[in-house]
Symmetry: C2
Subunit: 340 residues, 2 copies
């Protein structure tokens, strides 16, 4: 057996109990704010705690209760996520709220097929679901409170918080139509993400609504990178009958398109109207401020954590919610009525 701690560096509940002259149970009760402790004892314990600078061991608490305050954030490591405005906004939103709620934030940049351990994890935030639905199912099966953000999960019993990408895209293209444009192109994001798919859907929906025939050539797929945005822009601008307007799936790509257009001698917005998506502050600073669709990324992230926290700590059986946050078209300078 081990010797009783002699050179104990950490002070434990025992030390507090001894100093306060009560049992460790009482100390535990005080720590956990149980009402059934006499005033006098409580203050004694509190004094001892203060004096010894006692900090209960989260580890031991977890082991004893089986509960944990650790929130894991799972970010699927798909190409390009690390060059995105999106990822940082997400981390910012989640990180600051976790800090405020005193949740420990564990960051996992997961391989899609990786099987993660989930040990000692109290809750999980899935940032999008990209080929890793099995991870989500596993978590759900194990009964770990989970929540999905930036992806509307329809077929699983899990709350999700996403953004109205379809509506956002639709409003962007509607706007372009309202300016008289007929030849409207779309540069997509990485179609492994639901968001990109939905933006494409919104694009098509608007065209249909506005009785504009879909031209497949006007749809160019990318992986969200600036490089591919450049190629897409070049292709679009040099077509025999080029589009007069383009809806781009992200602001950073839209800025790239602007740059390319200018290099090719086009004037924005005279020769080409552009709408982006994100409301990335970078869009404000060019010679022509970018018209874009604002999506509440930080809010989405924070609502997600809030929801997760309440599942974890308040009501494990709270009803599943499928929240879709609205987007907002922000009209600035990068579009103009056709022919004006």
């Amino acid at each position: 057996m081990r010797k009783k701690k002699i050179n104990s560096t950490t002070v434990s509940i025992n030390d507090v109990a001894r100093l306060a002259g009560v049992s460790i149970t009482t100390v535990s009760r005080v720590i956990n704010k149980s009402p059934s402790v006499k005033r006098k004892n409580r203050s004694r314990v509190l004094d001892a705690v203060k004096q010894l600078k006692f900090e209960p061991s989260v580890l031991a608490q977890r082991l004893a209760t089986g509960k944990s305050n650790v929130v894991a954030l799972l970010i699927p490591r798909y190409e390009g996520i690390f060059y995105s405005f999106y990822a940082l906004e997400l981390i910012r939103g989640i990180g600051t709220l976790c800090e405020a709620l005193k949740l420990d934030l564990l960051l996992h940049l997961t391989e899609v097929n990786a099987t993660l351990s989930l040990q000692g994890i109290g809750g999980i935030v899935f940032a999008d679901i990209i080929g890793n639905k099995s991870q989500l199912q596993e978590a759900l099966a194990k009964g770990i409170p989970s929540i999905v953000i930036n992806n509307r999960v329809q077929d699983l019993e899990v709350s999700s918080i996403s953004v109205d990408n379809v509506g956002g895209a639709e409003s962007a293209v509607d706007y372009l139509c309202s300016l008289g444009h007929k030849n409207i192109a779309h540069i997509t994001g990485d179609l492994v993400t639901q968001a990109s798919l939905q933006r494409l859907e919104g694009y098509k929906k608007s065209l249909k609504k506005n009785k504009i025939e879909l031209n497949q050539e006007y749809i160019v797929k990318t992986d969200y990178s600036r490089g591919q945005a450049r190629q897409a822009a070049e292709k679009l601008i040099q077509m025999s009958s080029p589009a007069t307007a383009v809806f781009v799936a992200s602001d950073s790509m839209a800025l790239e398109v602007m740059a390319v257009a200018r290099e090719l001698g086009k004037d924005i917005p005279k020769d080409l109207s552009i709408v982006g998506f994100d409301d990335n502050p970078s869009g404000l600073y060019g010679p022509v401020a970018l018209t874009t669709v604002r999506q509440p990324l930080v809010r989405m992230a924070q609502e997600g954590v809030k929801e997760l926290n309440s599942i974890m700590h308040v009501d494990k059986k709270a009803p599943i919610k499928k929240i879709v946050l609205p987007t907002e078209l922000v009209i600035r300078e990068s579009c103009r009525p056709l022919g004006s």
Copy 2:
């Protein structure tokens, strides 16, 4: 007392021991790869482990040993860090390596003065030290393996891995001088960061070396944001005797400067030579590719984790290292000899 677990959902070392017909001690030995276990017993245990899908509880291990595989990444939450290329690169580098080394990554976006708990944390990566040196000192005092990246810490017994900002800035300005420029401006980053301070230092050093008198008006301070970069650029360009070249503390700001210059009718690089810092891929895509100083951010982050890991798991008493990684001037198209 509690009933012995009946509806046990997790399988424990006891279950394995029972199935294998050995003591839990033996199971523990097998788990920890102790050599002193008979072949036969070992394989029995291994079989049982497989059959039961046993996974040792990290929590219990931590509690019993006092050791932990959790690495905390502390990012000081100063203004603007969340709009930076830098932060994401850091998280990417650290995140992927932690994943590979099977370290749990805890993310803390700390308030400078916050006193964090450090419970159950096996090691800490300090991403820069910005007013939070006391946190570092506390960690060191508690004996928690720590490492600092992106900041050369001179006065504390801690390994640090940083980038040669002085040298990088110097090479940038030297290059500008070599092109014949005399009126060289500098747009700084946020001077709360050591990196920005050092880049400013390198700038001054180069001027001195090249016998160019320092003009305070040519130094404009910012917080790394595009907005402030814009203001700085406007100020610089509209001076009575404007600079012919400018060294900018980050690529994203440099791109903004380019944009402003163009808006004001200046040609890049004919009227103004620009060097950035970072080697942000965005710099490649404009009409004029940005000349810049490449800094190995991901590598720095990964070296940091590697070093920390070895302190944690190999040699706690390894000698302190102060590593400074070299930078590299990447010459592209945004500079031109004066008057050519």
